[in-house]
Symmetry: C2
Subunit: 205 residues, 2 copies
């Protein structure tokens, strides 16, 4: 089959579900790429402009918001983050799948901007296990863990907007399930085909 | 994840695309089962009632048609064949996926009777290759091969009604693609979840 257009995958899930690790697994396939976000935060040591992030001033960022150049954007503490639309479209046109590791609010913005995007939600096997993982990091105060669990629950409530659910109990299994979803989606009868056939049918009526 | 309801898969494709062999591969997974058809044709040697087919009289068959007991049924030459609805539903409820190896007309009947069914179309890599395979059987006259190719083309025209396309160039690859589709579909956010959330939203409005 000749290489067709890629698809946009949004991968969301509460902090601690391991969606970052799943994305890293998926990126081992050279047909899958991450999108590079734009941000107003300062580069950390070793971060490369155009590879890790596009580092811009607050003014540049807001100009891009104004121009409708983002698929989604959000403020995290004092910094702005956004996914540039043109970059994503260019990669899809070249036949790459683009992965976005973003939160549910961002996912819903993407769905609105590109309804054909595919939304995958990563769930922990239980909230108890999520608590264990968050505490296991050793970097979060008890208060912060509770706050994250509350956030997790409010994100999970939006799961009905997503297309697929993966429960990350075992990383290898979860990554394989995500691979299956991407494989299956590449076999979907394109909406374009349905559209053409519907037109044919209308003509004949 | 606790075992949820299975899904109904219709696997169609022109004669010679190898859909039978793909189904046989899928049946190696004990979560996937074939449905047993009802037919008016005589049992062949070794065929077991209730395992290979339910062998019934024409009268019994037509009574079942009348009672709306079939997901789909069709006449092939002088014989009637049909997929009993209750058997399929029982297996789905028990958590098994049910596979139906039926033609496109049957697939469309199933889609109407059970809109949540998943329709997979198996395509040959080319009509030329399909011709080669049909001729390779050595059992078909040149005339019959041409007729089958014509049938193939008219089935393929209905591909827009299907959910997934698999091109069977290499059996192992095609079977793995079908497995990925079944795996991915088991991760779909159920329509029931969307329905409940939509109701909640309506309540809040």
């Amino acid at each position: 089959m000749s290489r067709t257009k890629g698809k946009l995958y949004v991968i969301s899930g509460p902090s601690g579900t391991g969606k970052g690790t799943i994305c890293a697994e998926l990126l081992k396939d050279k047909h899958n790429e991450f999108s590079v976000s734009m941000t107003t935060r300062d580069p950390r040591e070793g971060e490369v402009h155009g590879k890790d992030y596009f580092f811009v001033t607050r003014e540049e960022f807001l100009d891009n918001v104004e121009a409708g150049n983002f698929l989604e954007h959000a403020q995290v503490f004092d910094n702005l983050y956004g996914t540039p639309k043109d970059m994503v479209i260019k990669r899809l046109d070249r036949g790459y799948n683009v992965l976005l590791d973003i939160d549910v609010q961002g996912g819903l913005q993407v769905r609105k901007a590109m309804p054909e995007s595919i939304l995958i939600f990563i769930l922990p096997p239980s909230l108890k296990e999520l608590r264990r993982r968050l505490e296991g990091r050793g970097t979060e105060t008890a208060d912060k863990v509770e706050k994250r669990l509350g956030q997790a629950l409010s994100e999970i409530k939006l799961i009905g907007e997503y297309d697929y659910i993966i429960i990350n109990d075992d990383l290898e299994t979860a990554a394989n399930e995500a691979r299956s979803i991407i494989e299956a989606e590449s076999h979907r009868v394109p909406e374009a085909v349905r559209g053409i056939i519907r037109e044919y049918e209308n003509e004949l009526q």
